[in-house]
Amino acid sequence: MTPQDSAARPNLWTRLQAIDRRWIYLVIWIVVMVPLLFPFPIKPKPTTPVEKLFSYIDTMPAGKALVISVDFTPDTRAELQPMIVALLRHAFATGRPVGVLAMAVYGLGLGEEALSQVTAEFNAHATTHEDSVINGEDYVFWGWTTPPLTVMLGMGERIANVFPVDYYGARTESLPIMRDLRNYDDVGVLVTVAASAMPRSWIVYGQTQFGVHLGCGITAVSAADFYPYVNSGQFVGMLAGMKGAAEYEQLVMERMAKNKMDWGLRNRGTEAMSSQTSAHLAIMAFIIIGNIGYFATRRRKS
């Protein structure tokens, strides 16, 4: 804030020109925080890659499993965790068997968190055994093992060999769900949710060697890197960043409404997306105000 800036006769615009940046910070803070506290969901229209993944999972042959690979760490949780939650809800709402594994060791906690959240949501509304979502019957959490190559190849042969015990310590062989979830043949689609290059490894090992169908959920920054794989059909669909997560949540909410599951669930991605939208709008408004001020001052000077 140099003195020259305020030397001109201070009208509103010139004052805005030299506004203390802390006002900008305050506005950003408010517009991001308020939608998180008091969600006003903006309903995003799903884009093609998101719709593709949704309808692929929605129309998989009965009995085929959805496998989610948690390949990210807590630092990208805000963007990626909502994807896992939405995918789990979709699978449980449509009665798909679900398998969850983690390629990132720090992803274990994230997988566990998402599973306990979503299973609790479903079981809270369950009245019969059929309605409930039960560990070992409707879903399995295999946990983490390394190296990735061994996992990706081994799952093509026998998943129970790769993960002899699940995350909770039960022998995977003994779980009823594993009877129909032997290897990639029983997997309808495997969705890798990652902030790294892991989706590429899944293509190289899982897909080119076993032909497993893949989908991916990635951060907004890496979206451009993965578009080519969606266009070539190597990924049946893709969720990119919070926007992708929010769009998928919308589709899942519509599906659940159709299945009479209007439980008023919170959608972290959609909520965060309203924060995103308001932050983007605020920044754009700042740019516009700055320019109006700029032209107003310039006219005054000339």
């Binding site: 140099t2 940046r21 190849l153 093509g156 042969e157 026998r158 032997r182 290897n183 043949d185 090992y205 899982g206 080119t208 060697q209 076993f210 032909g211």
Partner: protein, 362 residues
């Protein structure tokens, strides 16, 4: 007829065929590539690779690959030894074994033929550079156009001197292996000569321990050559931490507490670029930035007064020092760019007019 039937009953999946093994070319040896044609049966889930070294009499298992694979690289072959391979198709209930392959031998090569374009390209560029550097020894009047960021170095340092406030120099956040860091250290040498001359305090926080040692030597040398060895003190160049954001936090602290009048942010930067540049802008410092990290340039452009874009960073030490040999190299860079543009035009012309794919040769 009967034997056929027995075979069918005993072995209902058919084995993979045409198993072939050959040395992987252009490597340091140790690798043999095995190829086969897949078993036609859909129940196959994977293929298992077996290897036998000549005379060993025993087949060892190497590993397995998915049912769609038709190739496997054995990366544990001893050079000069003869190996043969078998591929076994496996379904959940049974297996079928192929005929063994012919023998193959892994060997190391002294030249990687895949690098031929790089070799030719390197040779041409080295030649161009040596020619111009040599010519620069005779020609004392090589011209370099104005680079606005560098024209303002003196002015920015002068301002710091007038205001009696220090100058901050951030040599990037990468290691010495990053050539941008070296370019930055060269500029640091020139900046330090001037701060020594003007008697302006200089602050050089570092994030790479090796860069720290080099930066320290360079600044010391600059102070000596400016005739002020006494002005060089221990706390001009110091190491902070090798953690990106801890470093950013510390430099932000320095910027707001010491209030340098001039900030140089030159070298390799990552996401912290705008954290540094925006804090510097908020303290009212004149900021000169320079990086070849294309992803960070937009942030420096928006938050700094002057930004050296990409190659300008590499022309800077020639520009500031006016050393003929360095100017010659800058001239060579220009001619190399002309060659590249020429090549793009030529290759496009060939591709469009004669339908010759130049990419085949690259």
């Amino acid at each position: 007829m009967l034997s056929c039937l027995v075979a069918l009953l005993l072995c209902s999946i058919s084995p993979p065929g045409n198993v072939a093994a050959r040395d992987v070319p252009n490597d340091e040896g140790g690798n043999i590539s095995v190829t086969w044609t897949r078993s036609p049966d859909t129940s196959v889930t994977s293929y298992r690779l077996l290897r036998q070294s000549e005379g060993a009499g025993e087949w060892e298992t190497l590993g397995f690959v998915g049912r769609l694979a038709t190739q496997y690289t054995d990366d544990a072959a001893a050079n000069g030894r003869r190996y043969q391979y078998r591929v076994i198709a496996a379904s959940p209930v049974e297996t079928a074994e192929s005929e063994p392959s012919e023998f193959a031998v892994a060997s190391a090569q002294w030249y990687d033929t895949d690098t031929l374009p790089a070799l030719v390209g390197t040779a041409i560029l080295v030649f161009v550079f040596l020619y111009f550097i040599n010519r620069a020894k005779r020609d004392r009047n090589l011209f370099i156009r104005r680079i606005s960021g560098l024209d303002h170095v003196e002015e920015a340092l002068g301002r710091a001197t007038e205001m009696g406030r220090p100058t901050l120099y951030v040599p990037g956040l990468s290691s010495i292996a990053d050539v941008a860091t070296i370019a930055s250290l060269n500029i640091l040498g020139e900046v330090a000569k001037r701060t020594a001359k003007y008697g302006t305090p200089l602050i050089v926080p570092n994030t790479d321990p090796i860069v720290y040692t080099v930066a320290r030597e360079i600044v010391k040398e600059s102070y000596t050559s400016a005739g002020r060895p006494d002005a060089f003190t221990q706390d001009i160049v110091f190491f902070v931490t090798d953690q990106q954001f801890a470093y950013a936090a510390a430099v932000d602290g320095i910027m707001t507490r010491e209030k340098p009048a001039t900030n140089f942010l030159i070298g390799m930067f990552f996401a912290e670029s705008l954290i540094l540049a925006e804090t510097g802008a908020a303290t009212g410092a004149i900021q000169i930035a320079g990086t070849d990290a294309v992803a960070q340039l937009p942030f420096f452009i928006t938050a700094c007064d002057y930004t050296l874009i990409g190659e300008e960073l590499y022309a800077a030490s020639a520009y500031l020092s006016r050393e003929p040999l360095l100017l010659g190299a800058t001239k060579a860079q220009d001619y190399s760019k002309a060659i590249i543009v020429g090549l793009i035009l030529l290759a496009t012309l060939l591709a469009l007019v004669a339908n010759v794919s130049v990419n085949r040769f690259l």
